[in-house]
């Protein structure tokens, strides 16, 4: 095995390409600095090793055989031809190089020289450029906004996928068309044109916003919020406009629905608080009352003992008076609650208010396995009421009605609650809630509106009292009459809104 001369090696060191010389058995005889850099082996480590360690795949596996075949007089598929091959770095990574191999003349046994040119960098650069172009288009298309570029005259130059999708048209049908005439909803075209002119005239690079409808291919309209910016190709005068638009049709719709749902929730919450408030009130009041009872009873016991501890009795009496004051304070708070600081009396259609809470009321019916019947008179004059408060009263009355009937077996008796609205002789609006339960006995009828009076095991005795105070605040009266043929009927008459006062 003869090594290349010092002259040759010096030349190789100066070569930019990686150069590897091998002998007839594939052993590395020379490995220049560029090769060191390319493959990560030090020359001293590479020398004498089989060159196939630098190869990958099939090349690596068949190199020795191919070499033998060539040396035995076979054709070479490699010599004198440059080709791209994948090679292997010392760290195992693979990369592509441009390889040309030649047989060194006058060497016996023959030696071969390989020049390797790293093409992966160039490739990568090319691929990156291509990739970036695709990416730009992708970004344009992936953008969650509609992008539309027009020239000065408003003729479409470019649209992205999002815009194409919203407009429901082909790209080819849009390019070259006038934007406003082709895509803007007719009633919004003046608006769109004005915004367009303003943008061209402004001379500013600041984006400007506007909102208008576009018309889709199907003739639908989508509501879009736009930001427009003037395009200037270096010069002062705008050459066109770039519009980015967001289709907010669904969002607007959802907002509207959310708003309505929120309002419903609020009124449900206020309706629910009536029962909870009552429970809270009785708990709050029972605390000081319990303390008063305990203290008073303790005093009585202490005073019965021969040598009563008088300071202790005095302390307990002080506590009794302060707890009585505490109870009074709670009652004052309740009264201010029931007086309802934020009464919002507005013009309402009573039937509309009832229909609004019908779904909620129907749950009560389902729980009691009964029916809720609406018997609403039409047409009725409008009334000025706090809608939610009237709905609270309706909830309470209907709830009571179902509960009253739930107390006894109802064989053959229709298990239903009827809400009726009628026009009275005086032209006012009567609302009634009737059931087919046991109705009210004589003395109960007297007490039913009294606070804390209840016939129910879990009742607080506040529902009807609060309902009555609400109705009273509406210049009306919550009344009771027996229902025919049986049951109870609660009713109130709301004064009709006079035409003159509208």
């Amino acid at each position: 095995m003869s090594t290349p001369s010092a002259d040759v090696l010096a030349v190789l060191e100066a070569t930019f390409d990686a150069v590897v010389i091998m002998d007839d058995r594939g052993r590395i005889l020379a490995f220049n600095r560029s090769a060191e850099e390319m493959f990560g082996y030090r020359t001293a480590d590479a020398l004498g090793r089989n060159v196939s360690m630098l190869m990958t795949g099939v090349d690596r596996a068949t190199h020795d055989d191919n070499l033998k075949r060539y040396l035995g007089g076979g054709e070479s598929r490699v010599l004198g031809k440059g080709r791209d091959v994948m090679v292997r770095h010392r760290d195992g990574s693979e990369f592509s190089v441009f390889l040309s191999v030649g047989r060194i003349p006058n060497t016996e046994p023959p030696q071969f020289i390989g020049f390797l040119h790293d093409t992966s960098l160039r490739r990568r650069a090319l691929a990156t450029l291509q990739h970036e172009r695709e990416l730009n288009r992708l970004y344009l298309d992936l953008a969650q906004v509609m992008l539309v570029a027009t020239d000065r005259a408003g003729v479409i130059q470019l649209v992205n996928q999002r815009a194409i999708r919203v407009l429901g048209r082909q790209e080819a049908d849009l390019i070259g068309q006038p934007w406003a005439d082709c895509c803007v909803a007719p009633h919004d075209r003046p608006l769109a044109r004005a915004a367009y002119r303003a943008l061209l005239m402004s001379g500013s690079d600041e984006p400007q916003s506007c909102e208008y409808h576009v018309r889709t291919f199907d003739g639908d309209e989508r509501f879009v919020t736009w930001r427009g910016v003037a395009l200037r190709d270096g010069g002062e005068t705008p050459t066109g406009i770039l519009l980015s638009g967001e289709d907010i049709t669904d969002q607007r719709r959802a907002e509207g629905e959310a708003h309505k749902a929120m309002e419903r929730m609020n009124s449900v919450a206020r309706l629910a608080t009536m029962g909870e408030m009552a429970a809270g009130i009785s708990h709050e009041l029972n605390q000081p009352l319990a303390a008063i009872a305990n203290y008073a009873q303790a005093c009585a016991r202490l005073l019965r003992t021969p040598a009563a501890d008088l300071p202790e009795v005095t302390g307990a009496l002080d506590q009794i008076s302060s707890q009585a004051l505490r109870a009074g304070e709670i009652i004052r708070r309740i009264r201010s609650l029931v007086r309802n600081e934020d009464v919002r009396r507005e013009r309402h259609d009573i039937n509309g208010l009832i229909r609004e809470v019908h779904a909620l009321l129907a749950t009560d019916a389902r729980v009691h396995d009964g029916r809720l019947i609406l018997d609403l008179g039409e047409p009725l004059p409008p009334v000025t009421v706090d809608g939610v408060q009237i709905q609270q009263v309706m909830m309470n009355l209907v709830h009571n009605a179902f509960e009253a009937q739930g107390l006894e077996p109802h064989d053959g008796v229709p298990f239903e609650v009827r809400i009726a609205t009628t026009l009275t002789e005086t032209g006012d609006v009567e609302v009634s809630v009737s059931d087919f339960g046991p109705g009210l006995e004589g003395d109960v009828e007297q007490k039913i509106f009294e606070p804390f009076f209840t016939t129910k095991a879990t009742g607080t005795g506040l529902g009807l009292a609060i309902s009555r105070s609400i109705i009273k605040a509406h210049d009306a009266r919550l009344g009771y009459r027996a229902n025919q043929p049986r049951g109870a009927c609660f009713f109130f008459v709301l004064p009709a809104l006079q035409e003159a006062s509208r």
Partner: protein, 203 residues
């Protein structure tokens, strides 16, 4: 071991209710201690202290029902009388299902509370006596040899010495000796007493 004197523990977050209850119990000659929260009570509670609990249902933090649950988990046997400011039937039912001794709605007549407290204290004393008794019986049982245990089992099933001897394959004389040891170790004066002891343990 003699029991410590019984104490009524009042747990209620409302200062006025808590203090008035303590005074009421004191005026009736009953020792009372109080805590303003379930956590405060649980952190100092010694289950060997006999007594009963007067527990408010609705408290911020851990509610009365949650505290009852915690006591059950700890295996405490203290009787619990719930007091509530609002007559909540489902809540009362739940409390009773979980072993509450009684349920009172605030405000209450002093005699109603004191009667229940006395009954709860009596129940607690009973429970503790029974527990102590079973502990003692178990202790004695543990001193028996395996053979003596077999004899005990058969004898308390009502078998005569002769039958026991047959069952165990030993002489009647041997059974008599084992039986005497059992009676002695168990400190039983009669077979009837021995049977009663076994029933107590089985409970």
């Amino acid at each position: 071991m003699k029991d410590l004197p019984s104490t009524v523990f009042v747990v209620d977050d409302d200062d006025a209710v808590r203090n008035s209850l303590k005074l009421l119990l004191k005026s009736a000659g009953i020792a009372a201690e109080s805590a303003a929260s379930a956590q405060e009570f649980l952190s100092t509670y010694d289950s060997s202290q006999p007594g009963c609990l007067v527990l408010d249902v609705r408290m911020p933090g851990m509610s009365g029902l949650e505290m009852q649950h915690e006591l059950n988990v700890r295996g405490a046997i203290i009787p619990v009388i719930f007091i509530s400011g609002h007559g909540d039937i489902p809540m009362a039912v739940e409390a009773m299902q979980h072993g509450a001794f009684d349920f009172l709605q605030k405000p209450f007549r002093d005699q109603d509370l004191l009667d229940r407290v006395q009954r709860a204290l009596a129940r607690d004393a009973e429970n503790r006596t029974r527990l102590r008794l079973t502990d003692r019986i178990r202790e004695r049982l543990s001193t028996l040899s395996p053979r003596e245990r077999e004899v005990l089992q058969l004898v308390t099933q009502g078998k005569a010495n002769k039958m026991v001897a047959g069952d165990l394959g030993v002489s009647q004389r041997t059974v008599e000796i084992h039986r005497a040891h059992v009676m002695q170790k168990m400190e039983a004066g009669s077979l009837a007493e021995l049977v009663r002891m076994m029933m107590t343990v089985a409970q």
